[in-house]
Amino acid sequence: MMYRFRFLFLTACMLGAAAQAVSIFQTADASTQATPSKSNLKSTGTTKSDSPAQLATANSKTRVKATSAGWVKLAGGETAAVVRFEIENGWHMYWQNPGDSGAPPLAQLSAIQGWNLLEPIFPRPSILKTVDDTEFVYNNSWEWLLPIEGPAGVSPPACSFDLSWMVCKENCEIGRGRVEFAAATGDIPSVGAVRLGRSLATLGATATFNSNDQAITISGDAGKTANATSKNSSATTAQFIPAVMPGVSLQSTGPFPATVANEKFTLNIPIEIQPQNALGKPLVFKGVLLYGQSDSDRCEIIRLPLNIKVSQP
């Protein structure tokens, strides 16, 4: 039996180049500090977010500076706080699925009655390949969206996020910090506008699960996979990187390259369904389809419910 779905969420992953859009994000006053230990989380005062160089680093071992980059509106109407990470040269942080090793950053919203942190949105990662491992990472700087929900029609109040992250080079370190956000006031820029300003038109593609072959097939128009920013748009490549999928096993960490023929690209990814490893969650095939090779190229989030009952075999 075949299941067909449209791709979901075109917005989030296009924030891969969001670092370039800081001037759009920085509409709200914000203060922040990056500290290496939980015990040193108390803010030392207000620092303009457009002056990250002024941020105090409490410990020379801190490889990451986390700063506020204001608020943005998501396509669904939610408001998200934008945390900008600046990473020491040579070090990297991790995407939601770190790959063979690592761990993504974590965020906790300060206790504000009626407001909750929704699932963080990660921009397009880079692929870091070594002899033994494949990791999905961020280098230099990147921006992380933390959507929050609260009472209808009310703008987000001043709040803060306690963050922790793993940052690695040859070795790894755990960093912690608190980023404070001023209340969202005035017009909040739309993240969609940012995205449309740097991407091609929306690409149509489909993902199907063939239960007989136990494989996922993703196909789309190869012509539209061209590099979104390059004038020489001969690049017609796409590759898929998987999210963490409990109960769905792949043959490798990825990425899975597409084959391109007759102006169509196709990805065929064998999967093994392991309901006993689903940890009680619905079986979902998910990840990101990356177009082109550049970090600033477009990408799409894929989420394909497998409609298989999760129970003991």
Partner: protein
């Protein structure tokens, strides 16, 4: 000299294993399969998957003592990949979670064997560091193994520290993956320790579930050149 000592060890291990096998003669076909596997020393870097038999392999501990995996035949074996330099691994160890896991595991299965393995290229060849790390954190394992070549780590496809592997008494890999279901890389202990969960299910004769959970932690960082 070294060679003859190794041969003697191998011979005595084989004899011990033979005796253990004889004592379990009324067991099933799977036992015979395990015996066969244990009789064959195979140090090729083959990935063992959950549900497969673990072939025999040679280990060298922090004191330079050589042993065979088959030395633990008939017992459930828990292998943990460690790296003193990894903050995640060190975090759960210094918090006492590894010590607690071992203690709790012994309650479930008094014969369970714990093998700590360091496959990290830059520290695995410094046995003292691993020995000190385990001793300082009161981690008492049956063996603390130095796998500088990465042969054992790659055989199990260990990717992170920590990574946990449970091999049942028949020699089948029954669990591979995370230490626990911590939502913050082990800073806050998860409610479910997957090793204890596996041991409990093995004791009850149940199918192990989950049998594979994505592990969290630092990369193992194998040595650039592998000898095996």
């Amino acid at each position: 000299m070294k060679h003859s000592r190794f041969t003697a060890l191998l011979t005595s291990s084989a004899l011990l294993f033979g005796a253990a096998t004889f004592a379990m003669a009324d067991d099933t076909k799977k036992d015979k399969k395990h015996d066969k596997a244990a009789d064959t020393t195979d140090t090729k870097a083959k990935h063992v998957k959950v549900g497969e038999q673990v072939p025999n392999f040679t280990m060298t501990d922090v004191n330079g003592k050589t042993m065979q995996f088959s030395d633990f035949s008939g017992k459930t074996v828990v292998m943990e990949w460690v790296n003193p330099g990894c903050p995640v691994c060190a975090g759960i160890t210094k918090a006492g979670l590894v010590t607690k896991m071992i203690a709790d595991a012994k309650v479930i299965d008094p014969n369970v064997v714990f093998v700590m393995v360091n496959s990290t290229g830059d520290t695995a060849n410094d046995p003292k560091a691993t020995a000190t790390y385990l001793a300082d954190n009161k981690v008492v394992a049956n063996a603390a193994v130095i796998d500088g070549s990465g042969v054992i780590g790659k055989m199990f496809d260990a990717k992170t520290t920590p990574s946990m592997f449970v091999i049942d008494s028949k020699g089948t890999l029954v669990y591979s993956g995370a230490f626990d279901n911590s939502s913050d890389r082990g800073t806050t202990p998860g409610k479910t320790n997957y090793v204890l969960n596996t041991l409990t299910q093995l004791k009850a004769g149940e199918k192990v579930s989950p049998s594979e959970v994505k592990s969290y932690g630092c990369g193992v960082h194998y040595a650039k050149k592998q000898n095996g």
